[in-house]
Symmetry: C2
Subunit: 320 residues, 2 copies
Amino acid sequence: MSIATVSNVINGKGKVSKKKREEIFRVMERLQYRPSVIASALMGKKTFTIGLLIPDVSNPFFSEIARSVEDLAHSEGYSVIVCSTDNKDDRIEKYIRLLEQKSVDGILIGTGVENADVLRHLAEKSLSIVMIAREAATMPVHSVLTDDFKGGALAAEHLIDRGHRRIAVLSENLKVSSSFERVRGFRFTLFEAGITLDESHIVSCDSSIRDGKRAAAALIHGDNRPSAIFCCNDLLAVGALQAAKDARVKVPEQLSIIGFDGTILSTVTNPELTTIAQPINQMVKLAFDLLIHKVENADEIKQRIVMQPELIIRESTCSL
Amino acid sequence: MSIATVSNVINGKGKVSKKKREEIFRVMERLQYRPSVIASALMGKKTFTIGLLIPDVSNPFFSEIARSVEDLAHSEGYSVIVCSTDNKDDRIEKYIRLLEQKSVDGILIGTGVENADVLRHLAEKSLSIVMIAREAATMPVHSVLTDDFKGGALAAEHLIDRGHRRIAVLSENLKVSSSFERVRGFRFTLFEAGITLDESHIVSCDSSIRDGKRAAAALIHGDNRPSAIFCCNDLLAVGALQAAKDARVKVPEQLSIIGFDGTILSTVTNPELTTIAQPINQMVKLAFDLLIHKVENADEIKQRIVMQPELIIRESTCSL
DNA sequence: CTGAAAGCGCTTACAG
DNA sequence: CTGAAAGCGCTTACAG
């Protein structure tokens, strides 16, 4: 029998007699035949591979995203190539080029893209891309993200409710759009409550436990020590917790600390972290659907789907 | 000019006049031409993609491995497809089949493979595979792992030195070779010191914080409560820490807890975890080299490279 | 319903 | 030194 017929059988195309079809399946089984994705991709079919760009897989927030993406992808027959960018523009470009050469079917971007040219370039190539947990405001791409402004607001309300007035903010680089929004929401809510956030009480540093610890230590030892610190992610909050421990400042009695993301880290510290959780699985589900299932109109109207963050109260915050 | 010449220029093959070569580069640049990895892979060249099989990317130990693999791979032009298996045999087989169809250049396996047939099958297909942090004793494959027996022994010595005699072990499923070895090393060392490990003091459960917590709680509330618990990984140790906190048992004063792996989790708890660290980056480096650079003889003599674990003393253990 | 033929974008001898 | 030709393993019209 001809290879064309085999191809038809595998793809369930054309009309092939039941008898022949069954025979083909039998032989395939016996020969342990596995069609080459490579060859079929060459003919313009999909590669069933997607790229996932994130700052760092070993950062719990992103490793949780990666796991979620992976599960969804595998369940639909896709594999995922993970790329940790460290938020570096040159790495981002390099990885995108790599993914392009490998003809991936789409790229999920969870890392800040400063240089919009990269995205523009992708858009031209009509490579399907979706931003997740980030956005690129000026670019025509889909994005699925948490309402960071709202998240910041939630954190502020919680602290205000607990009677805090002398509050500090520990953020990662404010160039990262999500962090910027969190701080903005936080600040705005304090403002509405008539509380001013002292400029010297907003500090930003790299997103790591170590840097968070150092920055928090400065806040703790500075004059006019805050009674509460809002950290833009759990990593920084863990750093703040450690700084407090070193300084023998009791959390939450003497200092309330609130994190963001709701990663595994927030459940592991002692005291456990009060944090603003992001609905990771839901975000991933929506983003993946946009990426792969190309909803009708999807190409025309770029969607911006905003999910609701949730305040999870644990042990690291209390009333004054 | 012909496409053959272009191909030669790109691959630095054949003799092409300098003039022509430069012209080709210029045009490539102008057209933003990127050769298709797909097509070149079809001709039997490499796909520059490797697979990484691990139980779970969102588990810190494995996400740290994934990051390390990724960095190394990218620096050599490879991308990595991450596959979380949850240690399930059917998932393992499915992912391996998928990777095979995608013609990856090699697979790094960091998950237990119960069913040796899968590996045998791969070996026949002459797909390059290397085990990392695990081994498949009966199979002719390279493996790079930590000396788990030694790690268990290190933990035992530490506890013995601190005067502990009533000791318990919290392990993940003993079918996982690495866990089995850790317990064996631990037990053997106690035995040599004349300490017997009560059978009821060896419990195993799934490798998660929640299950670790539950199992540890049973140990803590059981009669003849141990003065120290050796946990086969940091996740379980975190669970034990939480169980102790719930039971108002002070760590380390009333209960010493020691973990394994040396992940980020061990630095984040309070008290910080004493743990046995694995040299992740070194393991990954060696494993990747075996996988890709096919050292001479590598195909004949299957290597088993064993790295040394290191005891990191922090706050969760103390003298009786 | 089935199979011969062309083509996807490359690489590899090989003839000139 | 350069280019025409065959082929990698598939898919897709299309003729029979």
